[in-house]
C-alpha cells in the first residue's frame, strides 16, 4: 500500500509512529481538551487513512506514557491531573509507616521576578526572562512536611495572579492544564541531602542543623518542553521519597 503519511517525510518512520506524532500534535495544539474523548479508533483510522490496528498501536504507546487513558465501551480520553494521577505519578513523598496521602497546600508567597541562571538553564529561557515564583507549604497529616519553591516562565501563564493560584480547585498541574491548556506529562527529579536554610527549617518545624531532602524537579509538557522548575525541601523525619518502578509496568 502507498504510505500516505510518510509520503512527504524524509525520516521513514513506521506508520504508527507517524500516527502517534499526529495525535500528539493535536494534543499539544489543544484540539482535544483534557478530560475529553478523542475520536474513536475507527474514525481516526479513517482520518489518517490507516487500519484500525495501526491506530491502536499508536494509542497503545500514548496510553503506556499515561498521556491518554482508555476505557472500554466509553472511549479514549486525554489524561487529566486528577488527585489520583498526582498521587501515583507525580507525588513521591510517603510516610515511613507506608501511608500514602495527598498533601494539603498552603500558599506562602507569590511574586513576579526574573530568571536566575539556574532557572534559565532548567526552563530553557533567556536570562532575565520574567518568571512567577510561588512558595508553598505542604502538610501531611496536618503537619508541615514539604516546602516548595516553584518557578514558571510568566510568558506561559498570562494573567496568572495570586488570587487565581490560591483559589484553584485541585492540583497545581490541574490548574496549568485547565486554565492554560498546558499539560504536564513528565517530570525529572534530582535528590540530595542538605541542611535547609534556617527559614525553611523553621517552616518545617525542624531543629536547626537537621538534614533535609532537597529535590530539584523539572516538569515537562509535550515535545520535552519545560514548564516548571521546583525546589522542594522535605523533612524526612517521618516521611521518605518513594521510587518504585512497578507503577509504570503492565500487570
Amino acid at each position: 500500500m502507498t504510505n500516505t503519511l510518510a509520503a512527504g517525510n524524509l525520516t521513514f518512520n513506521p506508520l504508527y509512529k507517524e500516527v502517534k506524532i499526529r495525535i500528539t500534535r493535536s494534543l499539544a495544539a489543544g484540539e482535544w481538551k483534557p478530560g475529553a474523548a478523542i475520536p474513536s479508533e475507527p474514525r481516526l483510522a479513517e482520518q489518517f487513512n490507516v487500519s484500525i490496528g495501526t491506530v491502536r498501536k499508536a494509542i497503545d504507546e500514548l496510553v503506556a506514557e499515561k498521556i491518554l487513558l482508555r476505557q472500554q465501551g466509553r472511549g479514549t480520553f486525554v489524561a487529566t491531573h486528577t488527585e489520583d494521577r498526582t498521587l501515583f505519578y507525580f507525588f513521591h513523598i510517603v510516610g515511613k509507616d507506608g501511608s500514602k496521602e495527598l498533601p494539603v497546600t498552603e500558599m506562602l508567597s507569590f511574586r513576579r521576578d526574573k530568571a536566575g541562571s539556574e532557572d534559565m538553564a532548567r526552563l530553557q529561557i533567556p536570562r532575565g526572562a520574567k518568571t512567577l515564583r510561588i512558595r508553598n507549604l505542604l502538610k501531611l497529616g496536618g503537619k508541615p512536611v514539604i516546602c516548595d519553591d516553584i518557578v514558571v516562565p510568566a510568558a506561559m501563564f498570562p494573567g496568572l495572579d495570586e488570587e487565581t493560584f490560591a483559589r484553584r480547585e485541585g492540583t497545581i498541574y490541574g490548574l496549568y492544564q485547565a486554565r492554560y491548556g498546558i499539560n504536564v506529562i513528565r517530570i525529572s527529579e534530582r535528590l540530595s541531602a542538605a541542611k535547609p536554610p534556617a527559614r525553611i527549617a523553621g517552616l518545617l518545624g525542624m531543629q536547626p542543623g537537621k538534614p533535609a531532602l532537597m529535590i530539584k524537579r523539572v516538569a515537562y509538557t509535550y515535545n520535552y518542553m519545560p514548564v516548571e522548575y521546583r525546589v522542594s525541601w522535605v523533612n524526612s523525619g517521618n516521611h521518605e521519597y518513594l521510587s518504585d518502578l512497578w507503577k509504570s509496568a503492565p500487570a
Copy 2:
C-alpha cells in the same frame, strides 16, 4: 474459539495474559537462561496453541518490563544484567555536573549473620534466618561516594562466599543471575536525608555532621519475590539521585 489455556482456570484471564504467565513461569524456572534466546514466536504459538499475534502481545508486555529483549532478525532474549542495563535501570547516582558512570566497587566485608527485624520484613524471611551481609564501597571518578550494606537470605545463595563475591566479573546482579539463576527484575527504593554513622562518614570522606542520602532498596525477582535488601549512604556533595521516568517510556 475454545479457550484452551484458560480451560481449567478459575480466573478468566485473556489468552495473552495466560501466555505471559506461562512464559514467566519458564523464566522463573530457569528453563530459558539469561542471555539466551527464547523459542521463536511461531514456535511458541504452536506450543501454546494460540495465534502468533497473541504470543506477540504477551511478549510485548515482558519487553516493556525489560524482562525480555527483542532483536529483529535474531530473536527474543532473556535480559541480562549487563553494565548498560545497570546504568540505565538500577543505578541512579549521577554527578551534579550531569556525568553518568558506573561505580568501581570495593568489598569491605563479607560475613554470615542472622536476619534482624528490618531484614525479616523486607526480605519476607523468618526472624533469625541465615543471611549474608556484604559491605561495599563504591567509587566514582576514583573517589568514594557510596557505601552499600547488602543483606541477602543465605538460603537463596548456597555456597556463595567471600572469594566468589569479590572475584565476580560484572555487576552484583549479574552474579546473582549467572551463578544462581536469580534474575533481579525490579527494585523499590525509599530515600531520606540523615547524618551517616561516623564510620561511614569516614569511609565517604565526609566531614562529621554533614548530611548524606540514605537509600533503602529492596530488589525483587519474578512473582514479587524479594532477593536483596540494601541500605546505601551517598555523599551528595558532588552527586545526586536521579529519578527520571522518561527512561521507561516508549520513544
